[in-house]
Symmetry: C2
Amino acid sequence: MNPQTIKVACSNCNLRELCMPVGLSDHDLNRLDDLVAVRRKVKRGETLFTNGEKFTSLYAIRTGFFKTCLATEDGRDQVTGFQMAGEVIGLDGIVNDQHSCDAVALEDAEVCVMPFDRIEEISREVMALQHHVHKIMSREIVREHGVMLLLGSMRAEERLAAFLLNLVQRLHARGFSQSELVLRMTREEIGSYLGLKLETVSRTFSKFVEDGTVEVKQRHVRILDTEGLQRLVNNPNNHCH
Amino acid sequence: MNPQTIKVACSNCNLRELCMPVGLSDHDLNRLDDLVAVRRKVKRGETLFTNGEKFTSLYAIRTGFFKTCLATEDGRDQVTGFQMAGEVIGLDGIVNDQHSCDAVALEDAEVCVMPFDRIEEISREVMALQHHVHKIMSREIVREHGVMLLLGSMRAEERLAAFLLNLVQRLHARGFSQSELVLRMTREEIGSYLGLKLETVSRTFSKFVEDGTVEVKQRHVRILDTEGLQRLVNNPNNHCH
DNA sequence: CGACACCTTGAAGAGGTTCAAGAAATGTGG
DNA sequence: CCACATTTCTTGAACCTCTTCAAGGTGTCG
């Protein structure tokens, strides 16, 4: 690994509203600029951190797209999340001082490296940051509750619908289209995240196309009927009781 | 609701090693005693907090057993976890200042109420507490990763085996038997947690009994072959690829 | 003791997986 | 820049696991 690094500041970062608290005084903003030690570029296919690696920092994604995944010795493999610009990864490492999953860049990426001891230090001085860190961790817990609901109670179509809606919603919050998106991950990775085989993901896409709900050309997806997808996720008659 | 409340202190609590940081100075220990505002009793079947309720506090379980569950408007229902003495619940509420799931007592319980603003206040002064809070949240994230692996890649037998092993392990850490346990939840609640129907849970228990892996008498379970269960969870030949 | 909640078991059925083959896209080296 | 290798995606058919529906048994609590 050859981490390319550049020094930078949060205070004039255009992603600040996504990964930092808002409404800070100038003084507090200056303190925040000490948060990011360096930036680091990660090429597509490379890992930002891996299972077992010593935990030192959280990472705010500036550009690019990541997956986090769990690989057990006996060959199981589970994608636990997909992360995009403005999101923070590495929280899993805090509890045992070492990472418990791999973070893999699905496209060339750049992250802000935030040493965790520095986060804790500045958190003690800047209340807004302290609360922000707590919120980020709580948000991740709530997100995972949602995934548990998905994995535990939804059928294939419902899972894929929920997945697509979640992706566009997050992309839209970053200024992209509400209805069009380019998948950065393979069918197999989607399947791993959704607890389905890649063939099932592919078939379900095909079903959506037949129904006129979406257009799919490889990884390019256009959502034609957002409410149709929403109905799939929410319709009480659809559940496996 | 009629919360029965008693004032108390952490410094002489016999569960301290489970829910509080260790190795504190006397001064820091005294600060911690301000953490717990009151205790609160929750009767079996009652809720400690519910979805939508304003978030004010985290709760350390002193006695009893809880489930947390997500219930959506359209009738889905997902148990997201089972919690026992020494564990902390309520973390889901931080991000939006309101709880996003229900916490239901599965047996008469008592919790220590820790107002979150007080946690943040004392965290700023006591580094060990600050780090401890971070670890608790990170631990919950990692636990949920494990559940995602379970729900996403395991078959019914593997899920139930993993579930039982996890339960006895946590009970053992609290001084109970390594091989015997009393389930505090119904088959349906186990099923909801594991993404299975109650009938499947029941059948899988029966299969374990046939195989001589466990003895089951209603909610009383005795594990006869821990390694057999372990093998089920870890055996690479068992997966659905 | 009777009502109710909980658990077990069977049989039929559905949804997703597995295996297999081929097509489409992507990347690589000459 | 093209030919070839590789990865990724699609689709079909058979199979398997888990679910659904149904009925009866067991335990518990007022």
